[in-house]
Amino acid sequence: MTTLWDIIHLLTETPLFFVAIGGLTWGILGGALPGISASITMALVLPFTYTMDPAQAIALLACVYIGAEYGGSIPAILIRTPGTNSSAATVIDGYEMNRQGRAGEALGISLMSGVVGSLFGLAMLILLTEPLSWLALAFTPPSYFGLGILGLSVIASMSGGSLIKGLAAATVGLMIATVGTDPISGVTRFTFDIPDLLGGIEPVLVMVGLFALTELMSQSGSSTVLQLNETIRIKLPSWSMMNKLKRSQTIGCILGLFEGLTPGGGGSIAAFMSYNEAKRWSKTPQSFGKGSEEGVAAPEAANNTVASTALIPLLSFGIPSSNSTAVLLGGLLMHGLIPGPRLFEQSAQVIDSIYVGSFIAIIAQIGVGMIILPACIWLVNRPRAYRAGFIFALILSGIFTLNNSLFDLGIALALGLVGYLMRIAGFPVLPMILGVVLGHMVESSYRRSLVLSGGEHMIFLQDPIAVCLLSIALIFVVFSLSREFRDARKTKIEEAHS
């Protein structure tokens, strides 16, 4: 149990303070770069965390996530190009305010609404995560198997309209997870006498390859030129303005909480839903789309809330509900930390560091956000050719840091190609990452369960937690399948009419 003393100790602990500020700064810079999503920003920093203290490493990643969610709104407001997917809804009224010469005001509203959303999300994270994880104290190998399957069932809602492709990507991810030493018998699988493969393919390589390298390859040859006005400065909203924004921020917070807890929800859905609801409940709905302050506040409060609440299912049960939380899960696994009750029992320091680091980052966001804006504008204005060179070198240097292995670089480059081909063919990458990160847990808990039961599969139906988790997974899959069939039928009808 975390005591007040633990919190005070962590708050005053110098490295965590700098880690939080560093993560926040990196997140804002990365999020501000169009095309570099929150998950890519996190994936870029992931290799650096390898040599860090686990508690600080995870806190750093959580702070990067917070920073990236705010950073994404900067180009959304200034050049009508969302830096991250979840800031797409901010474009509507943020850019309109910019056109009216109110860019500083829009950036200020975005920043403060983000802080409100993040604080609410953090409070929910602290209140809900630990109680939920108590449930996991009763977990047995069959329960862990159910949990793994529940995690994989997220694939159904993240397959981007093609369940077959999502399942195929996940299967390939599970295949990658089988490379290395077998968890039960210890024999080697698919290692081809290559010593570097004995420990398997690290999830971080898959993430960096599929997210960051694929994105760089996709942007190659792009002639898009972005130019931001370098004189813009943030203007924080007054108390009366904050009072006016109360309703839209509350809507953003509530929907952000709901979407953060829902697998496949994510910041973008929360942001668009909040925008719609804020418009519906607004006293001046006619101003939406014409530079409404509430139209900026609602989506920003929502996507920043998600940055914290998406950690609730991740830390309690190890279920990543978005790309960014999948990267965070990769970070946890890289440091040998298994989400769930054991994390709270054995590595309470990690949990405390996430809470305290996030709190520092959220509060510091106001100052850092104002100070760093000129740097963000400078970075976005750099020629893309140089930016690509620097990012590519950073990625490869970071990967080498993991194991001082050139082989790892080769694996990551190969996965970059795989990710690019998947993108061309319309395969979602997140299911593949889920397969890689959850594969080991699913296989080992399944086989341990069978060892315990003497080969009887009934063990999975005798464990109440496993039954419950498998049922939820089934509901997710059925719900996603019905949605896919419904969408397909709708498209067919629309095509027939046209």
Partner: protein
């Protein structure tokens, strides 16, 4: 649909290859009932089923949309050769790194990528490449204490 058809065939080939490799996994006396080959075999069967479903769906949709067949045939990605070229720069970097070392290798990578991405041939490219390499060397080697390759050509200098 053309892409789905190709994807399905590729996945089928991956599934077959993976199954063949899984049969080469050694037996162990410590093995449980499922064994080290259990999951790989199940996965290869699942992937094969999904690949067949993908191929089947692509063929059905292709037949249904004969009118747009010509358009389908044109489906492709013009950026693929360019993206592969970009990736090859990384592959060359990995290959030369043990010989020329981290600083020179990184400078070459930054410069090559900048030129490949359309930066004008100007001294700025060289300055950015060298400056960037030294900056990363300072961060990784000096600040983080990571041992990046020194390179057989420059051994003893760093």
């Amino acid at each position: 649909m053309y892409k789905d058809l190709i994807s399905g065939v590729v996945l089928l080939a991956v599934s077959g290859t993976y199954y063949a490799w899984s049969s080469q996994i050694a037996d162990s006396t410590l093995s449980d009932e499922v064994g080290a080959t259990g999951l790989p075999r199940v996965l290869s069967v699942i992937l094969a089923i999904l690949a067949v479903l993908l191929i089947g769906r692509a063929m059905l949709l292709r037949r249904a949309r004969t009118a747009t067949a010509a358009a389908d045939a044109d489906e492709g990605d013009a950026g693929l050769p360019r993206a592969i070229g970009f990736l090859l720069l990384g592959a060359v970097y990995v290959f030369v790194l043990p010989f020329i070392g981290y600083v020179a290798g990184t400078a070459l990578l930054i410069g090559a990528v900048a030129l490949y991405e359309g930066a004008p041939r100007h001294w700025v490219v060289v300055a950015a490449a060298v400056g960037g390499a030294v900056f990363y060397w300072a961060i990784f080697v000096k600040l983080l204490g990571v041992h990046q390759p020194v390179g057989t050509l420059f051994q003893g200098m760093f």
